[in-house]
Amino acid sequence: MEEQYISLIQKHEGIIHKVIGLYVDNDEDRKDMHQEILLQSWKSYANFKEDSTFSTWLYKVSLNTALTFRKKEDKRKLVSETPITTTSSESKEDYEMLYFLIKQLNEVDRMLMTLHLDGYKNQEIAEITGMTSNHINVKIHRLKATIIDQLKKANNGHI
């Protein structure tokens, strides 16, 4: 079982790095969260059922761990959760701007947007987050509209 687990983790390690990158900003927390996700995924692996894909399962475990980790940690150390603003970011590259906007989203919205951008279908996102597909559909639609609007503003109306 362990060989299979290690091989699957190595194949999908990008998910872990992505969740860490999106939810914590300092090196010490990154290291802690990395260890926590590895530990939790290893502990939960026995319960992994192959009726969902490993990547979906790993996303779920990683995001749950990240959200729990955030609750445990001193929130001031972590990513701020202010509303989306673009005042000082107009000179940024497009991808930098998008990254900046995603990181400004609250925990749940950031999770939804990341999964959407990663190409997950709403049904899969529903499986990961426990929300309904309809709710996800509405949320993602709104989030995308807001982000595109902000990107347009940053690019002086062009996108």
């Binding site: 290690i6 860490i20 260890q35 590895l38 998008l98 990663d118």
Partner: protein, 204 residues
């Protein structure tokens, strides 16, 4: 601008790409165990402090009745036993966390598991057999202070009966509550350490 394309650039530029290997997983399990081992070590230190406190109390009582040889012997023996218990526990305590650097993390965890169980077993082995002696001493002390001898005190059937009944009732009770307290203070952490060792063995 295609945000999906931009997201691909973010993935390349912003996220770590270092590979995860077996050692990372073992390290993660070990780091969690380090916390557990530290807690166990700290709790063992508290136990040592209590044992030291009682050693001091018995020594003080022996000194207080310094001109009464039987009382000095009883409290002196108690102080000696508790002193031995303290140094025994201290040996286990000092060994915890000071393993040779070349040991693998799994061996360090196993070693700490063995040491904490050893310390608790040692405590039981040295403390529980002393309980009957302590009871006999405690019952005799008031009479000894008044100048009676051990033989005259336990020559009285009533005192002897009280002593025997006390031993029959209190020794199992002390053992029961002692084990219960150890289970509360150490049990869950020892179990956690044991689970982590099993997990490490599976990964390894």
């Amino acid at each position: 601008m295609d945000i999906f394309e931009q997201w691909k650039i973010i993935e390349k530029e912003k996220f770590n790409h270092s590979p995860i290997n077996k050692e990372d997983i073992m390290e993660a399990i070990y780091q969690k165990s380090t916390g557990t081992m530290e807690i166990l070590k700290t709790r063992l230190k508290y136990k040592m402090m209590w044992v030291l406190f009682f050693t001091g109390c018995f020594t003080g009582l022996a000194l207080w009745q310094f001109d009464n040889l039987p009382v000095v012997l009883i409290f002196g023996a108690a102080a000696l036993l508790y002193g031995l218990a303290y140094f025994g526990l201290r040996t286990y305590y000092l060994k915890m966390g000071s393993e040779k650097k070349e040991l693998s993390t799994l061996d360090v965890m196993k070693n700490n598991y063995k040491l904490i169980n050893g310390a608790l077993k040692f405590e039981g082995n040295i403390m529980y057999p002393t309980v009957p002696l302590m009871l006999l001493g405690a019952i005799a002390v008031p009479g000894l202070i008044e100048g009676e001898t051990l033989l005259s005190i336990y020559g009285e059937p009533k005192t002897l009966t009280i002593a025997i009944v006390s031993i029959i009732i209190l020794v199992p009770l002390v053992k029961f509550f002692g084990d219960k307290m150890n289970k509360i203070a150490y049990g869950s952490f020892i179990n956690k350490l044991e689970d982590n060792i099993k997990e490490m063995e599976m990964v390894g």
